[in-house]
Amino acid sequence: MAEIAESGGGGHDKGKKRAKKQSTKVDMTPMVDLAFLLLTFFVLTATFSKPKVMSLVYPAKPKITDPKINVEVNNAVTFLLAEDRIFYYEDAFYPEGNAKGKPATTLKEANFGGGEGSVRELLSKLNRFVLEKKVTLDADLTNKKIADTTYTRKIREAKSANEALKVLIKTDNDATCKNFIDLIDELKIADIGVIAPVDIMQSELDLIKAKTVK
């Protein structure tokens, strides 16, 4: 291939065996040119990874005819997303001077990172029940003590158990989608089973305002 023309016409040299062999050669230069052109084209246009999706099941909208139920949430944490900050409080919301005599809810701030005061650290502490269960189940699975199906069932049971952490997400008007997705991501990392994005209350907005305005 890519033979220089010098030997190109050599096929007709009479009486020489070597010359006959050479005549079977085809000039492949154009083909190789094309091959490299295609190669360059595909290398430059290739997109490798298909986009990934993160599934999130929203609670069904309550019908107007449904009776209003006051849900007693125990073992819950509520995240409040502001423009570029994230706040949270544990348990239910108690306004100032509530009938139950509980201290008024105050907001604590968290961050997206891996270290001190991060959402991840907080969740691993609060969701210890599920995470510890998962560790034992993981060990059982690798030791082949339980089957795959039992494993998934038990994980699901643990996630929806009473002791498991439930998370409510509320966003104010400036929260970005990135923060929302990042938070959901942290929740998935911490194996939270119940995630509920809900509407924010005015009293909570006021609390955020007090925190963000200096």
């Binding site: 099941v57 929260a175 997705i181």
Partner: protein
């Protein structure tokens, strides 16, 4: 010494070149031309985007775009239903253009003019996206009719697969609902779209994300 030509044996190199060409040809999928550039956030989820989708995109200004996968007939029927509802008539050329689009974001009134443009001109089309407020909720109609058409097409495909003696999973033929939001978009805008889906009792939504490393897994 024979007068050797200055050529070298390129066979291994060419072999490799063709191997690479074949690899890239088979592994690459072409990025479809979308109406807006959307920079999605990242997550640890490694679920690959399903085949049969109805996708609503929200760009960083909060404009909404609608797109769906499916055969040309499905999209043609969808445009037909929408044209009937909004008392519009489309020419055959416009329908053809509609079928070719990956997604679009314009008011139904702007649609004929939008379809007359070339795909390059559409990128500069001044629009506020598909309206999704309570007075004029066109997005809801797109999703509703899109879902209807996708379901009936899915049912046909399901029956066809059953006739062939396969045991298809009915769920695989239903459309999945995808939200492609820009990380910079305000969540309130995404919430409008989510509420449209929830109004239609479609509660299982998927967010498009790019993959990032899962801190639970070891390197």
């Amino acid at each position: 010494m024979p007068k050797s030509s200055p050529s070298i044996d390129m066979t291994p190199m060419v072999d490799l070149a063709f191997l690479l060409v074949t690899f890239f040809m088979l592994s690459s999928s072409f990025r479809s031309d979308e109406a807006a550039v959307i920079d999605t956030p990242s997550s640890i989820s490694d679920m690959i985007i399903p085949e049969n989708v109805i996708m609503v995109s929200i760009d960083k200004d909060g404009r909404k775009f609608f797109g769906m996968s499916g055969k040309d007939e499905v999209k043609t029927r969808l445009l037909g239903s929408m044209a009937k509802k909004y008392n519009l008539k489309f020419t055959n050329e416009q329908v053809k253009e509609f079928v070719k689009m990956t997604n679009f974001g314009c008011d139904m009134k702007e649609m004929p003019a939008y379809l007359n443009l070339s795909s390059a001109e559409r990128k500069n089309f001044k629009t506020t996206g598909i309206p999704a407020d309570s007075v004029n909720n066109q997005l809801k109609d797109w999703i509703w009719y899109g879902n209807l058409e996708a379901l009936s097409a899915g049912e046909e495909a399901f029956l066809e697969a059953t006739d062939k003696g396969l045991e298809p999973e009915a769920n695989d033929f239903k459309p999945k609902f995808i939200l492609k939001v820009d990380g910079k978009a305000v969540y309130v805008r995404a919430k409008q779209v989510i509420d449209v889906f929830r109004d239609l009792n479609l509660n299982n939504l998927n967010f498009v994300t790019s993959l990032e490393h899962d801190p639970r897994k070891k390197e």
